[in-house]
């Protein structure tokens, strides 16, 4: 357990004295993809804000590779459904922003960021503005920025929920592939049960008010999974189990 890349222990976070999440513990192993699954309002995004250091929790601690980072931003970045690319910066400068914020020189940051463009399918977009790119490309750029800002861990908050089903499947495959290449570990928020089962190594189910971890589920088949995985008995069993837990 001690070699977890990311650990959040016994997190309780309140807003205006009302607890939003209570005693939530999650961990993420190296190169693992873990989903936080839950209905809206269960405090998934709150947990992300705590992990990224934006909002210090009332109770609990966050560790990145064994080092405590509770309430300290600048270690782990996240990505939302909205790409939040800055419209006035060229793609390469948008992507290199985390490096720049950490004190790298502009040239150095551009060079470092530039080395990943090919891998992320962004070659040739370096000097374009975000408004010149399609939605899917912008998400890729946002993901690359997250990667450069996160030291091996990505927090993704429903990043693909605005995409249609086909594009979604495509970007899932692409994401898993890239993730393996760059040795990324991912904590992934979603309310889409199918997305969670298809992508995850493990799933945390979040629910209740205040939100807590209702269950932890391991999805056994190794990634990359067969296209027909979602048609198997095993898959249906996972789904039934999750629905049962959410129903309680």
């Amino acid at each position: 357990m001690s070699d977890s890349i990311l650990r959040a222990e016994h997190i309780t976070k309140c807003y205006d004295g009302i607890p939003i999440i209570e005693d939530v513990s999650v961990h993420l192993e190296n190169r693992e993809l873990v989903c936080l699954l839950g209905v809206s309002g269960s405090g998934k995004t709150t947990l992300f804000h705590v992990i990224s250091g934006l909002n210090p929790p009332e109770e609990g601690k966050v560790f990145l590779r064994g080092e405590e980072i509770t309430g300290k931003p600048g270690h782990i970045s996240y990505m939302l459904q909205k790409d939040l690319l800055l419209p006035h910066k060229k793609i390469v400068d948008n992507v290199a922003l985390p490096l720049l914020l950490r004190g790298a020189g502009k040239k150095e940051a551009r060079e470092k960021a530039g080395t990943f463009f090919e891998q992320f399918g962004l070659a040739g977009t370096e000097l374009k503005y975000p408004a010149q790119l399609s939605g899917g490309m912008r998400q890729r750029a946002a993901l690359l920025r997250t990667y450069l800002g996160s030291q091996g861990v990505a927090l993704l908050d429903e990043p693909f929920s605005a995409l249609d089903a086909l594009t979604k499947t495509e970007i899932h495959t692409w994401y898993l592939h890239v993730m393996d290449q760059i040795e990324l570990s991912t904590l992934f928020i979603t309310h889409d049960i199918d997305e969670a089962i298809r992508l995850s190594d493990r799933i945390y189910i979040l629910g209740g008010k205040p939100g807590r971890i209702l269950a932890e589920l391991k999805i056994d088949p190794p990634r990359p999974r067969d296209k027909d995985f979602s048609l198997t008995r095993e898959y249906a069993d996972y789904k039934r189990e999750i629905l049962r837990i959410l129903d309680q």
Partner: protein, 259 residues
Amino acid sequence: MRKSPSITSKLPAVCAIALLLLIWHTACDLDWVPNFMLPAPGAVLRALAEDFPMLLQHARVTLLEAFYGLMTGVAVAFITATLMDRFTILYRAVYPLIIITQTIPTIAVAPLLVLWMGFGAAPKVTLVALTTFFPITIGLLDGYASADKEAAALLRSMGASRWQLFRHLKFPAALSHFFSGLRVSSSYAVVGAVVSEWLGGFEGLGVYMTRVRKAYAFDKMFAVIVFITAVSLLLMAAVTLLRRASMPWEVYEKMERKD
């Protein structure tokens, strides 16, 4: 390829101006109005051509006052707006004051400034600064406030300091509002400089205006007015060019919205 929309959209305005000029010309031609009170468009144009070298000479003075005043206004607006954005208490304290100062008519302040500062350039520059300060301050304040809250949170999660947040997010977000304010202010600046020259001075379009008015040279009066209008329009166009050069990404955002 479709016809450029800017041409079709400008057509009604061009027609309206042409129609007004025609009515004006007819009114003078048929002696509906005595010619010494309202000179015909042709007469105004002739006066403009005759006086052009002199107008340019006076314009140099006025434009310099307007320029220095505008630069002062921009600098003060930038400092004020940025501090107001940074310190809420300052915002609450100063905002009503700024609004109140805007209700004081320029004409009422100008004589006071002359009494305090004399007949040189100082009261003129000050007056221009006072009138141009307001639109730019408001523009910047709106602009700072328009910065995406979620983007701000994301930048903070990346460890951005307050200064970095300002530099990478807030200031760029305020640019378009700033230029809208500057556009309005640049025409205010010329008018402000002219008005302050009415009250005394040795050179400048306002001084010249007072002189021809006292001589009842209506055609020359109108010529100055046309000249000042043209100068203001040119200044506004210059601001638009400056905006395009400073914000090259705006073009793409507009194209994207049309898609």
